[in-house]
């Protein structure tokens, strides 16, 4: 296998990797700005310099030429090479800043150049704390500045489009944003304009940067030149906990990170998954943090005299059990949800099977024409496949509306899906039928329900979702509920402040914790209330049971999902969902 020597350490490689990517893949560090693994390589920032050489091959002896010490004779490239654009070849020798003064000087020099026209406004810059320029300047940059002139002035606070703000002075002309709109989103709405040190990215005059993926340019901007209109000045990076999650606004299963401060999700950013969304996500999906933070159902409520009235969990459970006792199993219509997790749906189905209700229904949530060929899907729900693979009966919303209205139905149980709000049926359809709504947000359906049970949302529980391609992926709790604690719940991630700060450094208060529990937990408590023996201690356990009970899910576990960026469920195991 071909070999390459990096700082005197030998590595083997396959194919034709570029040196920078290869070095990064080995877990070694090399500073860079303009390079991005999913974009073309312009080699313009000149930060990833290395020294490179190739061994001298003697064709006559068919071997490498050796010096008097028996070492290979290396022909060094006379100039510093940009490792991002340098293809690895067999026997190549690379010196990084770790072993070459020349490289260290080159990297320092480039940073000095970048900084002479870069405003040093880190204290008020959103990017500070996650800024490659800031980090690399600390690590590789010069200690002071020798530049004693006026910096080049460019436009500031330019509203490029609805979601993105430009500060052209901070721009270091890496062209990542332009390449993104050229190569990934293909809107081609940005270009570098002007020339030389007056360069900066801009839209054509009179046009808006309304690319549905525009905020990705903010993610990949290596400085604070592009910032999010929505997020800017809201929170510093180091104040937030970053937790992996799954997007809930479509069936693509886009991998995301939730950034939480004081139990509020401050922003959502894409998380790399080469098999799903690469490094990207749509702008619209980022706004989903509002659903997580705002208008949440907290504490159960029951309808008294046409008004929702907060009640205790105990009363909620008693009421539920009493009502199910009043009707025959055939009179209960159980509606699962493509918006809820596999675990919640599974336990819902299992709970009602015990009561003798054999069928669980769900309404798909499809908006024709919404999707594109990229990350936005017609399907607005993250887990329709979850419902299908659990064997639920699929309806289009109107058909489900008819089923609800049927005279034989005396009780309707709805899991996390605002069916009335999305027009499946009018509120009148459930009048006179005892309606239970287990949901996350106040909505038309919760208003119409006789009993409302607040359940955790994707940001508060560990649960799985199956995307349109049949890939099962899971969330990790990002924010606390009234009943969970970041420090006690081992499923939750800890941030820098949790690890190192005193409690006075932290922003935490109880204000933003929602009084809710996972739907499965509510259901098993109902069983336990009546002396039943349905017991799970975590959703992890539920998934283990699903994996052993249902063919489609065989071999699936949280551990595997974590290790493998989610698991594509085997096609041959997938059942054809029942459709009515």
């Amino acid at each position: 296998m071909p070999e390459i020597f990096i700082d005197d350490q030998r590595f083997e490689f396959e194919g034709n990797p570029k040196v920078l990517q290869f070095v990064l893949d080995q877990g070694l560090e090399l500073p860079f700005f303009c390079y991005h693994p999913s974009l073309s390589i312009p080699a313009n920032c000149r930060q990833c310099f290395v020294e490179a050489g190739t061994p001298v091959f003697n064709r006559e002896t068919n071997s490498y030429e050796l010096d008097e010490n028996g070492d290979r004779v290396i022909r060094w490239f006379p100039k510093l090479m940009t490792s991002c654009s340098l293809e690895a070849t067999d026997g190549m020798v690379i010196k990084t800043h770790r072993s070459s003064e020349k490289v260290a000087r080159g990297q320092k020099d480039t940073l000095e150049f970048i900084l002479i026209n870069h405003p040093l406004d880190c204290p008020i810059c959103d990017q500070a704390g996650e800024c490659p320029l800031q980090i690399q300047t600390y690590k590789y940059g010069p200690e002071g500045s020798r530049f004693e002139h006026k910096k080049v002035h460019k436009p500031k606070r330019v509203q490029l489009g609805p979601n993105v703000v430009l500060d052209a002075e901070r721009c270091i002309n890496c062209t990542r944003c332009v390449r993104f709109t050229d190569e990934i989103s293909k809107s081609k709405q940005l270009s570098i304009v002007s020339r030389g040190d007056k360069n900066y990215p801009l839209t054509a005059p009179g046009t808006e940067f309304d690319d549905p993926y525009s905020l990705n340019t903010v993610d990949i901007c290596p400085v604070g030149a592009l910032t999010s209109t929505d997020f800017r000045f809201k929170a510093r990076v180091w104040e937030m906990n970053q937790t992996p999650g799954i997007d809930m606004t479509g069936s693509k299963g886009t991998n995301i990170d939730l950034w939480v401060r004081n139990n509020l999700v401050m922003r959502i950013t894409p998380r790399y998954n080469p098999d799903v969304n690469d490094h990207w996500m749509p702008d619209e999906a980022r706004k989903d943090y509002r659903r997580i933070n705002e208008n949440r159902i907290s504490r159960p409520s029951i309808k008294l005299d046409g008004e929702q009235v907060k009640t205790s969990w105990n009363n909620a459970m008693l009421t539920f059990n009493e009502e199910t006792g009043k009707v025959k199993p055939s009179e209960i219509l159980v509606i699962g949800s493509p918006h809820a997790s596999v675990e919640d749906n599974y336990v819902l189905s299992k709970f009602f099977n015990r009561l003798g209700v054999s069928d669980v229904h769900f309404a798909n949530d499809i908006e024709k024409g919404r999707g594109d060929d990229f990350l936005i899907t017609d399907d607005r729900a993250p887990n329709a496949n979850g419902c299908r693979f659990l064997g639920f009966t699929e309806h289009d919303p109107a058909a489900l509306g008819k089923a609800v209205s049927a005279s034989g139905v005396k009780m309707v149980v709805i899991l996390g899906d605002d069916l009335i709000g999305r027009g499946a049926f009018p509120a009148e359809a459930v009048q006179g039928k005892f309606t239970v709504f287990m949901g996350t947000n106040n909505c038309d359906t919760s208003n119409a329900a006789n009993l409302v049970v607040p359940i955790t949302c994707s940001a508060e529980h560990a649960a799985s979702y199956i995307n349109e391609a049949g890939r099962i992926q899971r969330t990790i709790p990002a924010k606390e509920t009234v009943y969970t604690s970041r420090r006690l719940n081992l499923e939750m991630s800890l941030g820098r402040l949790d690890h190192f700060a005193t409690k006075f450094d932290n922003w935490e208060s109880d204000d933003n914790k929602v009084d809710c529990i996972p739907a499965w937990e509510f259901l098993i408590r109902l069983v336990q209330e009546t002396g039943g023996d349905l017991t799970y201690t975590s959703s992890r356990e539920i998934m283990d049971e699903i994996a052993s009970a249902i063919d489609t899910f065989s071999g699936v576990s949280f551990e595997r999902m974590d290790d493998e960026y989610g698991i594509p469920l085997k096609k041959e195991n997938q059942p054809q969902g029942k459709t009515v």
Binding site: R46, D109, K150, N173, S191, R195, G196, D197
Partner: protein, 427 residues
Amino acid sequence: MQDWRTYEPLLIPSIKDLHKIDVYEKNGGYQQLKKVLSDKEQTPEAVTNTVKNANLRGRGGAGFNAGLKWSFMPKPDGGPRYIAANGDESEPGTFKDRMIFEYNPHLFIEGALIAAYAMSIDAVYVYIRGEYRSWITMMQKAIDDAYAKGYIGKGIMGSKMNCEMYVHMGAGAYICGEESSLMESLEGKRGYPRVKPPFPAQKGLWGRPTTINNIETLANVPLIIKNGSEWFTSIGAKGHPGPVLYGISGHVNRPGVYEYPSGMLITELINDVCGGVRGGKKIKAVIPGGSSTPPLRGDSLDGVRMDADSLRDAGSMMGTAGMVILDEDTDMVDLVWRISHFYHHESCGQCTPCRDGTGWLEKTLLKIKNGEGEIRDLELLLDICFQMEGRTICALADAAAWPVRYSVARFRDEFEARCKKSIYAVA
């Protein structure tokens, strides 16, 4: 070596109305194209070899053997292949290709077509800087005439050769004289130099094999085909043979473009060809080949010849042979500041060291020019140059750094005299 005094110009001979196609034809025009097309021995490889053996070194600045460059083209695969003829001519001090456009456009066209034959080219794009609009019109007329006579187009001169030729007008960007930037510009983009590899011969215009040659370089080709490579190597300097268009400007009595063999003594060019320095003044400096080439001190010109080797030994470069003669009254600080201003203005802004370095150089030189500089600023200038050289995709950063580096080194007393005493200086 032939005495320059008896040399008769070949690229711009003094024949009246030579730019007209019938006059050009009467004077043996397009016969060399005919020769390569009709003579069985003149295979494309043979033509390429003749040019290679003639050691025709590129006249655009880099001085690379043109025939060798042609030989880098891969074998034809049926897809299109291109020549981009570089008439961007934007390096300050350079104004020679314009002579060919005005006085002998058909010589260039014939040369380009022979090159096209040698490399199986489908189309030649003649990139001319936008400022040369008058000469673009002349070039276009010459091309139209050559089309009308069947020298360009389908089945050239009754042969199987097809080749188109188009003029592409630049619009004010020095960087487009850099070959990969020129290709980007031709493709309708911002003139950003490309990362190499891939080289143009592999992946040039529109992703296809492309060779870029300077106008004057191509104009030499018919001469070589006519007289052979040995004849060509016998003209002028051994390592850098052939006729050269010397564009001489600045403080001389008769500035202009002169055609002489390569390897002329700089002093001869100034004193005998151009009638000496204006007002009989002494020479302070000579920039031998366009603004990017390191200036030579006026007192170091003895025996220095205008060819790559002699100039390298003297500490400069041949460049485009656009010589600027500067007399003893020239303010070197002012001059170098203006050169830096040029490169700052023309940097495309792609690579960090050039984008920000050129501006820093200019600002520092302006400070010195205004009497605000300190001695330490001279060290800073040299450091900035060091940080720019060899660190960018194209050579513009080097071109910007060299005049500064070598001016500060060779005229240091003048720079120091402009600096104020540092406030930190110890008496």
